[in-house]
Symmetry: C3
Subunit: 680 residues, 3 copies
């Protein structure tokens, strides 16, 4: 979250680009911000060309004016560094700054995310700009955060990147022999004799398009992903350092994008003072998927509250079908962010631009230019409400007893795998399990393989294809000590370099799971095997492991094909704990039931057990601190839902200020939310 020592409340605002508008409109903006209880603006996101019109000339005059106006109007500033798009003259003078695409073609000036992260020119001038900004505005005490660059992304395959990749590899592996080993270069006679032999893996070398980008050498492509993430992280860190040098007390972040595959955010987060992210659900994104994104973002810094840096107040411009956010939905999704750990709620953007590709992206102030719009009214209403809530939620935490392990290396590696099925989808597999917790109203953290497992009673690691150095030992200790562990098919196959662990799948997890997976049968799209669980038949899709019990017990067995009768769900008692294995993919009904059962067995309660069972479309989340707990009940349905509260103490909805006794009935209107506060 963005911390302000002036405004003790959920900060509320968004991206503001007055430099795109004539100055006579600025005062009108201020008036409307006041109407909507806006208290923070993100400034200077894309101004490099304005700030450095020539190589030796910097011009801060307009930004000075903007900064002064904003300060005068009592607004906090989230200050961006403008380095997400370089100036046109720089591209013309120093073409090394231009990215080379995956097909090998160098770009010209244009677009954004357009700088090669290993360009000497980019690194020199981006850091210099950040430094000049920090130095110039260091005395503005309304700067509450730094926002480095913007939505980092944009891979490059140029000669400078190849050089930097060779250096990165030399540092990581030391010798060419070790590089040959970890990439298995004796295959297809690819043995290298010199680091200079290394080329970037793209369409010109090892990669190709099939259903998505595929590669001949998973090890090379995987390392290039790591290298690219590190290259951009290094750009971020260079800016971070100079900002901190001048304003050591202001927190620095960059806006992330949820499940964004190219960047290993878990590694990035170590170098961010707080996490912020941009939430743009598509017209058909389930609300549970948005919730999962929030969980991931919260987990990046072990539960520390984060900032919702961007969301659209009404409509996005880049979707196939830009459906409107229905009345109440913007507010509901804002509370969803808060419910999952956000302490800041911001929009992209404050005033809608009139030209280029985002002009049909919604804004607080629409093209109509006045406050008499549905969108503005909803923004203002929420602004008033957040002011009323004040500081009480700030800093509260989610306390989960269940965790899902998510790991970028696993996402990359399982995605590059040649075989066993193109339907293998790491994010989708995680979502299958996440949704099961979500639908059971059971809080869950999304953690990395380096996080502490001890707070959890159940650790789920779907598709743990790559079991990284030390993680197997950590899991063993955790389960031995009484924890429960759940994993799935296509787990434990490889070590950190995507080299198979021989001796039988699932490799280093074989002992803890008590099974041996001899073979795996890919199920073509639209087909399935099946299994029985608690008298219900469920489909077995994507992949079916043919496994043998080596200590584990079968909870269910396949019903069809030549491997009918083989175990498909197993549990292994290991030390004081248990390890579960799901040898296939099934459907949401199965996951909901299965997770419910495991949670019951491991003593993880639902946040709200209603006598009527769980109501579809109702989302429950909880934040708490030493003195109080806040139970968020969100109703994503169009219609009102009645719930009987099985709470054990009186609670007060901090929005309506109604108080509910234990066992009371509560009606949550459609697209509405209650936040029940209970003092501990």
């Amino acid at each position: 979250m963005i911390e302000s020592n002036k405004v003790k409340k959920i900060l509320y605002g968004g991206d503001y680009n007055p430099e795109q508008w004539p100055e006579d409109i600025w005062e009108e903006d201020m008036r409307m911000f006041r109407l909507a209880n806006i208290d923070v603006v993100t400034l200077n996101v894309f101004n490099w060309a304005m700030l450095q019109p020539q190589e030796d000339v910097y011009d801060f005059s307009k930004l000075d004016k903007i900064m002064d106006m904003v300060r005068t109007n009592g607004l906090k500033v989230c200050m961006a560094t403008s380095t997400a798009a370089h100036p046109a003259w720089m591209a013309r003078k120093y073409p090394d700054i231009l990215r080379t695409e995956h097909n090998g073609i160098r770009r010209k000036f244009g677009s954004r995310h357009n700088s090669c992260p290993n360009s000497p020119t980019y690194r020199k001038y981006s850091v210099l700009l950040a430094e000049k900004l920090a130095d110039r505005y260091k005395d503005y005490d309304n700067i509450v955060a730094w926002h480095v660059s913007n939505e980092y992304g944009g891979e490059c395959y140029c000669g400078n990147c190849e050089k930097a990749f060779r250096t990165w590899l030399t540092e990581k592996y030391g010798t060419i022999e070790e590089l040959n080993r970890v990439w298995n270069m004796s295959f297809w006679g690819h043995t290298l004799y010199d680091f200079e032999d290394v080329v970037a893996p793209n369409m010109q070398s090892e990669e190709f398009l099939w259903d998505t980008v595929r590669t001949n050498f998973q090890g090379i492509s995987l390392d290039y992903r790591r290298f690219m993430s590190d290259s951009m992280l290094s750009c971020y860190r260079m800016e971070y350092e100079v900002l901190k040098k001048h304003m050591p007390d202001v927190q620095v972040t960059t806006n992330l994008m949820g499940f964004y595959k190219p960047l290993d955010y878990q590694k990035w987060a170590r170098y961010m003072d707080f996490v912020s992210w941009d939430n743009y659900p598509s017209f058909d994104t389930p609300v549970s998927e948005s919730a999962m994104n929030h969980e991931l973002m919260r987990g990046l810094k072990q539960g520390k509250p984060f900032a919702l840096m961007e969301q659209t107040p009404g409509v996005s411009n880049w979707q196939s079908f830009c459906t409107l956010k229905r009345p109440g939905v913007m507010r509901l999704l804002s509370y969803q962010a808060i419910a999952h750990g956000a302490d800041t709620v911001m929009f992209f953007q404050m005033r809608r631009s009139i030209g280029a590709c985002e002009k049909y992206h919604s804004a607080v102030i629409d093209h109509a230019g006045h406050e008499n719009t549905r969108v503005f009214r909803e923004v203002a209403k929420l602004g008033k409400e957040l002011s009323k809530i004040g500081s009480q939620i700030l800093g509260t935490r989610t306390s989960a007893k269940a965790a899902i392990v998510m790991d970028w290396d696993n996402w990359w590696a399982s995605g590059y795998s040649a075989g066993p099925s193109r339907l293998i989808d790491y994010k989708k597999e995680i979502f299958c399990y996440y949704r099961a917790f979500y639908e059971n109203n059971i809080p869950v953290d999304i953690i990395s393989v380096t996080d502490d497992l001890s707070p959890y009673r159940l650790v789920t690691a779907p598709l743990l294809y790559m079991c990284k150095e030390g993680f197997d030992e950590k899991l063993c200790a955790y389960v031995k000590d009484g924890g429960s562990f759940l994993t799935t098919y296509f787990s434990g196959y490889v070590e950190d370099h995507d080299l198979v662990i021989t001796g039988g799948y699932p490799g280093k997890l074989r002992d803890i799971l008590g099974i041996w997976v001899e073979e795996s049968d890919a199920i073509p799209e639209g087909k399935h095997n099946s299994f029985l669980y608690k008298d219900e038949t469920y489909p077995a899709e994507v992949l079916c492991d043919l496994l043998h019990l080596e200590g584990a017990e079968a909870l269910s067995r396949y019903q069809e094909d030549f491997y009918a009768g083989m175990p498909v769900l197993t549990v292994n008692r290991y030390g004081k704990g248990r390890s579960y294995y799901a040898a296939t993919r099934s459907n949401p009904d199965f996951y909901r039931t299965f997770i419910k059962d495991i949670c019951e067995e491991t003593g993880i309660p639902s946040l709200l057990e209603t006598p009527e069972g769980i109501a579809p479309g109702i989302e429950i989340s909880r934040r708490e601190n030493e003195t109080a707990e806040f139970l968020f009940i969100l109703n994503h349905n169009d219609e009102a839902v009645d719930l009987t509260l099985t709470l054990n103490a009186p609670s007060t909805d901090i929005l309506s200020e109604s108080t509910y006794l234990p066992g009371a009935s509560i009606t949550v209107p459609g697209k509405d939310v209650v936040v029940l506060k209970r003092v501990k």
Copy 2:
């Protein structure tokens, strides 16, 4: 049309390439042309390599022979300039003539439309060739038209084009500040400091593939489309000038291609003496869409008769499924062209080639080589008929009281828009309305925004996304003066540079329409809202405006979703006229009914009201001059249709010479046509 002072009839012939054949076959061609009443041939379409075998050598010997033979045989000539494909040696010697693709890769020699329109080499030698041709053949009085190049097309993104683009921009905008303004370059920090900073918008810079080519900067891409159209037009005009210098009395054209998106034909037509075009319906093209293409082509020169320069006599070669033109269909589509304004009917081609990619395209003389084919017999029958008709139709005009506005800038700009829906389709929207007129047998012109509106009682401008400078005022004057105007959702948003007109949609059209469109909801593919019109429920698809009445009256309201009850069809009384607004896309039944009603209200009659109502598959069109009118009744059905004629005077079918009294019944056989002449 092609005018000949020798043959006063609809000229009949086609592309003839004797240089691809041994000379001993030429006399046989002449014999067969006579059999088929062929009187005109297009010569010299692709002979540059033959005519200029080396840089300093020209060789007209074979073309001389061909010209003499053709003249001797009494044939008129439509003389092409051969500049649509440069010689191989030129590509090798002067690579600047080779186009650079949208992906940034320069082409090698090959294909056609292969010259960069801004290549100095191309411009020098294409004009020189045209001049040499004009000078050499200026005394051939059987040349009835010049045919410059062929089916212009082929965009380029090379360095020469970038240079020329910078010049074009400098001339248009004067200063870099103005360029930054119109392209909104403060967005994403794209501000330019020098025209030299401009690069072509392609895959290397601002454009990318989504469902089609998309762009980050609509303004840049839009100007590049204009520039490319202008670049090719400039090539055309340079040839035009030298041709006219030598043969001032012969009309000059180039063959267009109907709704061809890359070139702004409305601008081109100003520099063409008459319009000619190539009509190649696909196996699944509705006949009404062919009719719409004819209407567009006729409108380019304000109703002046045009030439059908190419059509296949039987089968096209390049379609997915090259279905045969059924018996009678070639004749029927030829009369369709005439019915909509053609005074010339020509084929591609006279003799079918034996090699390369068009060898399975049908020709008058097939690979069989003799006259005993179905295709030849149909060609000969039509030839005889056109000779019999003589001059009576020549020069007659269509007189329409309804018009549809079509504008290339709008096609480009709405296609580049990021949001609100990828289903937005300018041509399709126009077709929705065109088809409604067509099915009601109501003549309609397709006009440009610069055309005079006063001849019309109803002007329809679907998807008038960009309301160009002055057009709003013209519309206001027109409606004030009693005209009716109809437009749709996603209209009035931007001015000429794709910058949004702030203050509320539909911008400058808000007053005339009496509405304010606050928001627009994109409807995902396969979904719909609905509305009631005249007791029928119709779907609302693609986009649903949420609009407020500001003087207009609602004709219908949405039935579903949170905006149920909001207006979806409106009419506004404005001055002496009316403005209609359709806030969504609906289905053909709706448009047919809605247009019928508006036409009745505005006093625009159907060409043929039959007691039985309008027969599906029957197409009615009319041409007339001071002394006579010709009513074309085309039956696209396989079966005969009986009609009762509600004409007010006796008419004679100029094909069958049958005469019909008012109120008479007429049977039009399947795939047949009658042309009823009524003397005024």
Copy 3:
């Protein structure tokens, strides 16, 4: 097949890459090979980088060790030359070795099949390596075959290829005038004046993507296909020559890939001592299609037994859905190969690799590393069985009275055709006919246009689009002499350069077929015409010829559309024989019936007529020599099938050693096979 003068049996083994493993694992490999009765290994497939670590340094030390170990363990060696992937240093030092893609972009180091076949560097060093190998290992008498390179492929469009193409063309056509003639370069003014004007046909010149790669000039693209196939063949032949120089008695091959479009295997086979190929059916490949591939491979050397060089023992890694080979299926498909002419059965690969893209491809020794796997058990069982069978099948031949003509030029040319339908598919059309023979249990050879027709009673040439020089005369002589001939729509159109034979389709086949095809109507996907054959109605799809009888007799006529009543199936008595024509595409039921009837008429019996008729899923094939015949009965069903044998002599199943009398019943279990031997 691979011939060994030591082991008189079906050789059994596969690709073995011990250099990818530590040496301590090698002895374990030897142990497991013995367990599985493995007697041959393919070595050294991808070792170039190991063998030539620097330009002037060769290092055979590890290969020496491997060769010695293998010899010591009594294994035969199929010795590869390692030239299918060049070393990384070579790509860095000599970039001419890198291929240029179809889009014009040059590759970097990576992948395999990565060498430009016209690279001077590649040719120099690949041949040198082959020579060094042959010289070094010439005294290893356990080398039973040479395996040049691996699965040749990988087209190139670089400058060296363009130069070599010009030389190839000069040699073939002599003069630029002749080149212009055969490519029909007067079309679109493409006339060349110098061989230097020639460029490679790719995305930069004449080719483009539509549903697949298409071209403007079929002649150019066709010659480039021939040239590319020849270029790689030339590389192969250079290695062949040096291998034979040193080991004249060892047979040389390269592993082919069945219906592999880029290479004209019929031309290649002339330079191969025996044919070997890699059989990788996909999860949805019909077994009949695998059988067709075997037939094609066997036909390449006129029936000589071939080697199954690669198959997966369990699962492939590169498919969309890598389904397991069901229990018994690996064995069944191995016998299918033998049944169709294989004398060698080999796997890719012996031990599963741990890194890069084939690590999830099955192997005899799995990642588990021991013999207790289903796959190993099945391999070992088959190994034992093949040892037991011994030499009795070796060298036996298939004797077929029916042949299908397959011709690479026809595959290429019909695929490049612009029109009449994108559904035209040469391989699919051949399969329609092949499957009909297969389902009737009628042996059929797949032959080339240069093969002798006299052994056959029926020659089928589906889609004989290009009737090459002399083949029409050969067909005439064959039919006059009593043979039966069957061809289809889109036949006889062009000569060897894809130039249409004028005068009426099907060109030079018109006389023999007694028909004239005036027009052809493409049928859009999902639509059909129909015809009646023996009281059953069958669909007419893809293309419907409108033909006239010129001596032939109609066997059936269209039922629909304007050409209802025109002939769709015809037969023409010609000399002592008959010519059949199928003017359209129909369904499997039709082909099965039609081929059955023609075979009955021409006196070609089924291999096994059972009283119950033909059982689906049963495949019958026969091999024989002077003394015995072997009838293979394969049951591809999951369930057992009972058959009544209509054999005329007692037979013994060489697998089970059961003997069956004429008229006996036999039960073939599901996924099982019997091989009935009958002594002549």
